[in-house]
């Protein structure tokens, strides 16, 4: 088996943007390993036959079931650089605008290679023991909980209800396509989740955090399929449309709480933006210690365009207000909001230049952090099945400047990134910078 790079649209793409080494020289204090990780996430990877021959599914993590990606092929789910930096890939191979990095193996070690030059030694993520076990209901545990270097991830709801409403899904998101492609159960059962986490906790030192996220769960009128009734339905007729999502997470977190001797346990929930009353219940009734509701893009006009369902349901300003309320409840530093770094430059309505996008994003991030909510960024990977599939992501220079800017804002505000640090999610170059 080999993996092949996707066809690159423009063979001269390297001449159109600064290279890894050029960006490194421009930002001499940017850790080279984190810059490499950023570029690998931007460009993707392919594997040499020698690298794939070293993959041992009995030892390495090669299976995953998540909202965005499902695989049981013998390809590493992700890589770790020598400094402990995760290069989170979920098997992502390449986009169509730039050549991917090559993962090669010399018989002793694996390396990330570009144009024949080895740029960083990597290891394949190791598989926890519970991956090979099944729940009492017969489900493979790896389909219930996935592992990152120090986090156990649960995706209780594998489908987003915004996609049930025509045109209301977020345009960068491939959750709907992934769900349809893999024909999986839309929901995980709470007993399966608790049983799997209990098994995972038997492996000492394997996790510092439990993490829950899933697609939005909306309580909507029967047969609602068009976008127009959404706003009306949300403002009348029904009880709060997020009550079902709240109850889902309350149920899971309460059940998981029985596994711990302390009332609170290191944990993170990424959910739709709940109102104050709902957030208070989450905090008071469960062991949850941190909360995230992703704005995805820090601009109201672009939020309305890129995240139409979220916009109609809560709105950009309403979303921010709910985040600020969450920070009051969970405490400063324990609430953040994720952005898909670079999506603010999506065509045709995104910012015209990288400079304009960077300035606007950091200004908005400053306002958020002044209200107790810090911003965490991931690298926009243009996913097959998303509305934005085929778009071109920004330059490496842009991502370096964005990471430095977000990290500086947090440092100035003295905010910890513990809830989303380098070995929990591992998908955020900007929080990697907080390590030193």
């Amino acid at each position: 088996m080999t993996t092949k790079p996707a066809q690159v649209n423009n063979p001269s793409w390297r001449a159109l943007e600064p290279s890894l080494s050029e960006v490194g020289r421009k930002y001499p204090n940017f850790p080279p390993a984190v810059l490499l990780k950023t570029d690998v996430q931007r460009r993707g990877v392919t594997y040499s036959p020698e690298a794939l021959a070293q993959v041992d599914p009995a030892r390495h993590m090669t299976t995953i079931r998540s909202n965005y990606y499902d695989s049981d092929r013998p390809i590493p789910i992700s890589l770790t650089l020598n400094d402990g930096t995760s290069v989170y890939l979920e098997g992502f191979l390449a986009d169509s605008h730039r050549e991917p990095y090559l993962v090669d193996h010399d018989g002793q070690n694996a390396y990330l290679v570009d144009q024949g030059q080895a740029l960083g030694q990597v290891t394949y993520w190791e598989k926890p023991a519970f991956y090979d076990k099944r729940t009492k209901s017969g489900k493979p545990m790896w389909q219930i909980v996935s592992a990152r270097p120090q986090r156990h991830t649960i995706h209780p709801k594998q489908y987003c209800d915004f996609w049930k409403l025509k045109g209301q899904g977020c345009k960068f998101c491939a959750m709907d396509a992934n769900y349809r492609k893999n024909r999986k159960d839309p929901r995980l059962s709470i007993p399966d989740i608790v049983e799997t986490i209990a098994e995972a906790l038997k492996e000492p030192g394997s996790s510092q955090s439990l993490f829950l996220t899933g697609g939005s769960l909306l309580t909507l009128p029967p047969n609602q399929k068009s976008p127009e009734p959404l706003s009306g339905a949300l403002s009348e007729a029904l009880p709060d449309p997020l009550e079902g999502e709240l109850e889902l997470y309350l149920g899971i977190l309460k059940a998981l709480g029985a596994l711990f001797k302390s009332p609170k346990f290191p944990s993170q929930l990424i959910a739709t933006a709940f109102n104050g009353k709902q957030l208070k219940r989450l905090y008071d009734e469960t062991g949850l210690m941190s909360y995230t509701a992703d704005l995805e893009v820090l601009n109201e006009r672009l939020f309305d365009w890129i995240c139409p369902g979220k916009s109609k349901l809560i709105g950009y300003r309403g979303w921010k207000e709910r985040l600020y309320r969450a920070a009051e409840i969970f405490g400063p530093g324990n609430v953040n909001t994720g952005i898909v770094g670079g999506v603010e430059l999506a065509r045709p309505k995104g910012f015209a230049t990288e400079g304009e996008a960077l300035g606007a994003t950091l200004a908005e991030a400053k306002e958020l952090i002044e209200n107790g909510v810090w911003v965490v960024s991931c690298v926009w990977r243009v996913l097959e099945g998303s509305v934005f599939f085929g778009q071109k992501t920004p330059s490496l220079d842009y991502y370096a400047a964005l990471s430095l800017g977000l990290n500086k804002l947090r440092q100035e505000a003295n905010f910890s990134v513990d809830l989303d640090n380098y070995r929990r999610c591992g998908n955020h170059p900007d929080t990697d910078l907080a390590r030193a």
Binding site: P31, N82, G205, R423
Partner: protein, 155 residues
Amino acid sequence: METTLNREIIELVNSPGTIKILGTVDADGAPRLAVKESLRVNGQGLLEYDELIETSETNRNVLRALWFGGTVRALLVTPGGNSHWILARPVKTLVSGELFRKRYEAIRASGRDLDLGAVWILEPISFFENGLEKRRLEEEAKHPLLRHLDRLAVV
């Protein structure tokens, strides 16, 4: 100076009676010293230690050394007061996986309620005996002019 640790220094590093201090520098160049009881030589002749405090200044400094090509220095002091140092380069940190787990289990089995932030692997660059008697003899051999006359006087 030698670049491969010899048997004597390996035994010294691995002896529980040796006091082991790791020296690093912060981003502003200020030195930082920390006792690292767990410093040891592994089967590949590399130094290893367990970082028990994930956000410690030492952990940050060692990481910065790895990122930007810097070095750290281990000072070893024997129960008899003799001392050696090892100059080393951080080459890898383990934050999960099999070796991390083994070290975590060993730390938990010690009975102390400790956690593990990382296992660091350092490549020795050089080492040197730094004991007073050895250094005094070297100093007098290399710099015979640098001594007080009264030490030589017969009056």
